[in-house]
Each structure stands twice: as C-alpha cells, then as structure tokens.
C-alpha cells in the first residue's frame, strides 16, 4: 500500500488569472500605500512638534505653538468629556430604540423604522449642528440651570459666575457648553449605535426566545434572560463605535462650543474644547511648525479613535453574538 502523499492544491495558472491576481493585488497595494502614507506622513510631520515639546505635549494646557507653549491636555480632556456626555445620553436612547425595533415594534412598521435609523446615520453632521445651535441651545439652557442650581455641589455640575439665589444673574454662562455639544453629538451617534445593537438583538436564537416565553416569562423577562445576555457584546461594541465617532466629530461641535484652552471640567459652563475643532479653528493661521503641532494633535485623536475602534471590534467578534458575523 503506497503512502498517501497529499495532492498539491496548486491550480493551473491561467495567464488570465495571473493578470487578474496582479490587478487585484495592485489595487490592494495602492490602497495600502495610501493608508500607510497617511499614517506615516502624520507621524513624520507630528514628530517635529512632539520631539520639541516632549512629554509636556500631553500636559500643557495652551495652544501657542509658535511660542513653544502648546499641549493637548485641555483639548484632549475636552474631547473625552464631550464624547462621554454624548455616550451617556446615546446609550440608553440607542438601547431603548434597538430593543423597541427588535422586540416591540409591530411587523408592519419594523422595516420602515430600520430604514429610518439607517437614513438618520447618513444625515450630514452640519444639519445636526444647525439644530443644536438654533433650536436645542435655547430650550436646554433652563435644564442646565436647574441641574446647576440643584446639583451644583457635584464638581462637574458647578458653574462659575452663576448664583442661583440671584434671580437677575445671567444665563449666558450656560450656552456653548460641553453639555450641549455632547447632546448634539449623542443624537448623531445614536443611529449607528442603534443599528449595530438591533442587528445583534435580532440574531438572538429563536429557540431560546420561545423557550423563555414558553416557560412563562414576560416579554421583559425574555429580554432580560435571553436578548440582553446574548447581545451584550453588540451593546458594548456598538457603544464603543459610537464613542469613536463622537471623539472625531468636528463640525457640529465646532458650531456650538466657544473654544477654551484650559481644562474645563464644568460641563454645564460656557466654554469647551475638542481636538477636531481645534484643528478646524487653527489650521488657517498655522505656521509650518504650528501645522506640525496640529498634526500631532490629529495623530493623538487618530490613535485614540483607533484604540476605541479596535477594542469595539474585538469585543463584538469575541462575544457569542458576533462570532457568526
């Protein structure tokens, strides 16, 4: 009996296929080159600024690159604050909407709602910015004032220059704040979060759903015991993808905030900052070195969103629901 030598799986190489593979591979190489060029170029240009500023780039709260005094401490924390506020609002809204569409909505309107959510994800950010600036700002200021008056003893809700006891005190300190920018960004990221969560919820095995209902669970009992444990990876992953979007959002934030370059921990108070709005604000007047500093800020933002996105996809793919997709 002869030994079974595995047959070589090399197919006959057709000349057409060689050309075809060559073209496909060159497409991949071009895209890879473009993408790497962006990363390398950003890194190389940013290096000039980072090497001069050294570690103080992460700790300085100012943006005067030509005077050598610049750092991203304030804008990075501002970015994270806006994104955090956004996720705090968007998470319950997206979770509720996703559960509604996948579990409660009548079949007749389900498809329409799914399309509507996808459409909302494609609405330009400048439109959200318009709404935030011209509509939301006016109606949210009383709420901010109320929170500040009643919960001002919690440090992040404190507002300098506002005295709740003085009825004549101005309310302009509540405009253009991290809070308002965060709400607008929350609405921008809710659709994408909803769409990911709904997708995962709808994959929950029908047998387990019916099992829970058959054992006498209420609808919420079924959601608690089947849907949410099944979809927890999707919830976390979707939230982190939303967070990644929120970190990079530019125009809507830029339209609403009035930029400051110190750490502004009072989220209800006028004045906020984010890396992307810093770039939009400063690129026009930047010198060559200033450009390098902006590149460094952009690189920081990119690295942060990259970490968040990779974390999100790792969580989604490791969870039970994401393993199949």
């Amino acid at each position: 009996m002869s030994v079974d030598i595995p047959r070589k799986l090399q197919g006959a190489s057709d000349p057409v296929d060689i050309v075809y593979r060559g073209v496909a591979r060159s497409g991949g190489i071009i895209v890879l080159a473009i993408m790497l060029a962006i990363g390398v170029f950003l890194g190389a240009r940013a290096w000039q600024a980072i090497s001069q500023a050294g570690f103080s780039f992460l700790t300085t709260q100012a943006w005067e690159p030509d005077a050598g005094n610049f750092g991203i401490a304030a804008v990075l924390i501002g970015t994270i604050l806006i994104a955090t506020v956004a996720v705090c609002f968007a998470l319950p809204m997206a979770l509720g909407t996703a559960l509604y569409i996948s579990e409660y909505a009548p079949l007749k309107i389900k498809r329409t709602l799914i399309s509507l959510v996808d459409l909302m994800a494609a609405i330009p950010s400048v439109v959200y910015g318009l709404w935030g600036f011209f509509s939301l700002q006016g109606s949210i200021v009383p709420v901010a004032r109320w929170i500040s008056a009643n919960f001002g003893w919690i440090p992040i809700f404190a507002v300098d220059g506002y005295d709740p006891a003085d009825p004549l005190s101005t309310t302009t300190v509540f405009t253009s704040s991290t809070f308002i920018a965060g709400i607008v960004v929350a609405l921008m990221i809710t659709p994408i979060m909803t769409s990911i969560m709904r997708e995962v919820f709808s994959q929950a095995p029908i047998g387990e759903r019916e099992g829970a209902l058959g054992l006498g669970a209420t609808r919420w009992g079924m959601i608690r015991s089947v849907i949410l444990p099944f979809g927890v990876g999707g919830v976390i992953g979707g939230t982190m993808l939303g967070l990644g979007r929120a970190l990079g959002e530019t125009i809507a934030v830029y339209m609403i905030i009035s930029p400051v370059f110190v750490i502004q921990p009072h989220i209800l108070q006028n004045g906020a900052s984010s890396i992307s709005s810093l770039i939009a604000l400063k690129y026009g007047e930047a010198s060559s070195f200033g450009m390098s500093a902006l590149m460094a800020a952009g690189l920081t933002l990119f690295v942060v969103t990259l970490i968040v996105n990779f974390g999100a996809s790792a969580i989604v793919s490791r969870s039970r629901s994401g393993a199949s997709s």
Binding site: W146, G221, S225, F302, F310
Partner: protein, 428 residues
Amino acid sequence: MTVFDTPILAEQNQLNDARPRPEATTEIHHDAPRKLSIWRVSDFLSMAGALAAALSATTLIFTVLAPFGGAIGFIAIAYILFLLTYALLVSFDETWPVVRDRVFSVLVHSLAVIVFATLVFIVVFSIVRGIDALPHLNFFTEDMSLAGPLDPLTKGGIIHAIYGTLMQISIALVITIPLGLTTAVFLNEVPGAFSRFVRTIVEAMTALPSIVAGLFIYATFILILGLDKSGFAASLAITVMMLPIMIRASDVVLRLVPSTLKEASIGLGADKFNTMWKVTLPTARSGLVTAIILATARGIGETSPVLLTSGFTAAMNFDPFHGPMVSLPLAVFQFVKSPEPSMVARGFGTAAVLMLVVVILFLVARFIGGDTVAKKEARKAQRRAVFSGLKRASLAVAHGVTSLADKASQRTTSRNIASSQPYSKETN
C-alpha cells in the same frame, strides 16, 4: 425570585395557542386569524389613570408648590410621576414580574419615541427654517457672487455649491469605485497574510477622523506641493475618507456570495477571473451598489475635510483644479455664520437641499439594495411575458451562469449540466 416564577394570564401570552377557546369554534369557518393583541381594558384604564394623575400632580407642583419653569422640566417631572403611578396601579392587580414588564415596556417605548421624534424633528426643523429660501427660483439658478449679506432672498443662490458638490463627489467616485472594488475583490479572492494585513489597515482607517483626512490633504497637496485650495483637493480628502468605508462594506457583501456558486463556476471549467466577473460580482451587484451609494451619502455630507481643502468662494467655479470651489455642506456652514437673517435662511435652505440629495441617494440605495433575487426574477418574468421574443437573446447574456456555461471550454458537457438548471431554460 426569577422572571419565570409567575404564570402569566393566557391573554398575555402570544404563543399560548394550545388552549381551546370556546368562542373560536363559531368563527372557525371564517379562518379569522386569532388576535395577538395583549391589551385588556384594565391596561388602558391603569395607563389612563396614571397619565391623569401624573398630569394633575405636575400641574399642581408647577403652579402651587414650587416655581419650576420650562416645558422640558414639566415633561420630565410628569413622566417620572407617570411611571411611579403606573407601577403602583399595575401592582394592585398583578405580580411583581408583570409590573416590571409593564414599566420596562413603557420605558422602551418612550425611549424609542424620543429618539424618532427628535431625529424627525431635526430634519423637519431645518426644512421648515429653510422654507423661506426654497420657493425662490433664483436660489437654484444663481450663485452668491452678486448678492451681498444684506440682499433679500430674491437675489443670489446656491447653484455654485450644488455644482461643487456634484463635481467633487464625481471625482471622488471616479477614484473610489474602481480602487475600492478592486481592493475588496483582492481581500476576498487572494487570501493570505498580505490581504489580512491590508484588511486590518483598512479597518483601522475607518477610524480616521474626517478632519484628519482633510488635514492630511491640506498638508500634502496645499502646503508641500504648493497647489491651490481647489475642488480637486477636496475630492481627494473625501476620497481618503470614503475609501475605507466603501472597501469594508463591499468586502462584507462579497463575503456573503455563496461559495457554492463560485465552486460551480470553477467546476464548470471557468478561470478565477471569469468566476469573479460573471458570477460573484453580478450576484453581489445590489449589495455593492448599496455600499457605493451609502459611502457617497457619507461623502457628500462631510464638512470638515472640505472645510480645510476646498477654500470658500461665493462665485461659480467650473474648474475643479484651480481656485476655490464650495460644496453644499460648506455653504451651509458659511451661511449660518452670518448674523443676517437672510443669510441664515439661505443656510437652512441649503441644508434642506443637501438633505434632499442624501435622502434621494438613500432611497435609491434602498430600492436597489432591497432587490432580492426573487423580486428580480419576478420582474424579469414580467418583462419576458411582454417582450418574450425580443428579450430572449439579451436575457441569456444577463444570466451569469448561463453565459458562463457557454464560454466554458468543455462546451457540450457544461451545456448539459447547465440545462438542468432552471436559469438557462430560454437558451435551449
């Protein structure tokens, strides 16, 4: 105590169909579907009662007890009171798991209502505010070069921005579609360590903030190469932003093509290229078109990369390679920066036009993407019935499997195999 402890009333349980229902026997010959509604009169009553109690209590608080203000505050307090009263009312009749079910049902419904109402409001808001500008025909036929900030809405328009948007997105698509599709094909058809690496990099690049894409083009093309701010630079910035989105979406779509189709094609003697060109791509066509259109919608709406690269002008600029060229989102951004009400109205009008473009693209994507094979076949059958004689030849070409079978080297064998498939009926 778990959620499973309590048996639920039969009316609530949608799946409990086994229990015989006396009144159902009289209706059985009508074949009326059983009503799956889980609502009872007591549900309506407790809900209405809770609503009335919450509204009156809130009114009392607002008018007599404490001087709160604002519509949002009223709604918030009324809502919390409603939830509490509702839970209390339900708990009179039902057990604790049922109370929890009801309360969470209300919560989920209201969250969904808030989200959809707000999102629809955002869209309607900008259209309503833009309605002042939209009825004027000149808004769509003139540019802003002759209209100052104080001019009424009967002067000036956004034709330059509409043209700019169309031009920029066209250039971006001319680069993105071939490059993106080729790369997606590469990721699927040439497996190996290298394509995995490319896929990782592309996925990383979807995280690239759009402003950084703009900054990259600004620093390379405008600062280093010394070119003008132009429509072409803006297109490149949009391309950099759209490329990863499109590659990722098309990659997913191509992965969904059943491998049996590809194997059948290769088994019939086709080479890899023809398999891709005549089987995989036609099968995935609607998904690919959806990917392209959705990426286009994203690209059209982006302001920040354009803000850095295209420059701003009030006049029409037909040449994408020289001089600033404004696009719709950038025009919105510039208009609403002005304190003049007429400029702000123009901004909202422009936003409405921009949204209209996005919505139309989206509907087209839905229409194409929602096309299932069954629907397509039904349409084809209809067409066949009308033009049965004329269409025969072209239909044979349209069917990838059939035409592939024709081109395969072993003609007779493949013809025999293919003729056993329903697709190729009309060739025989």
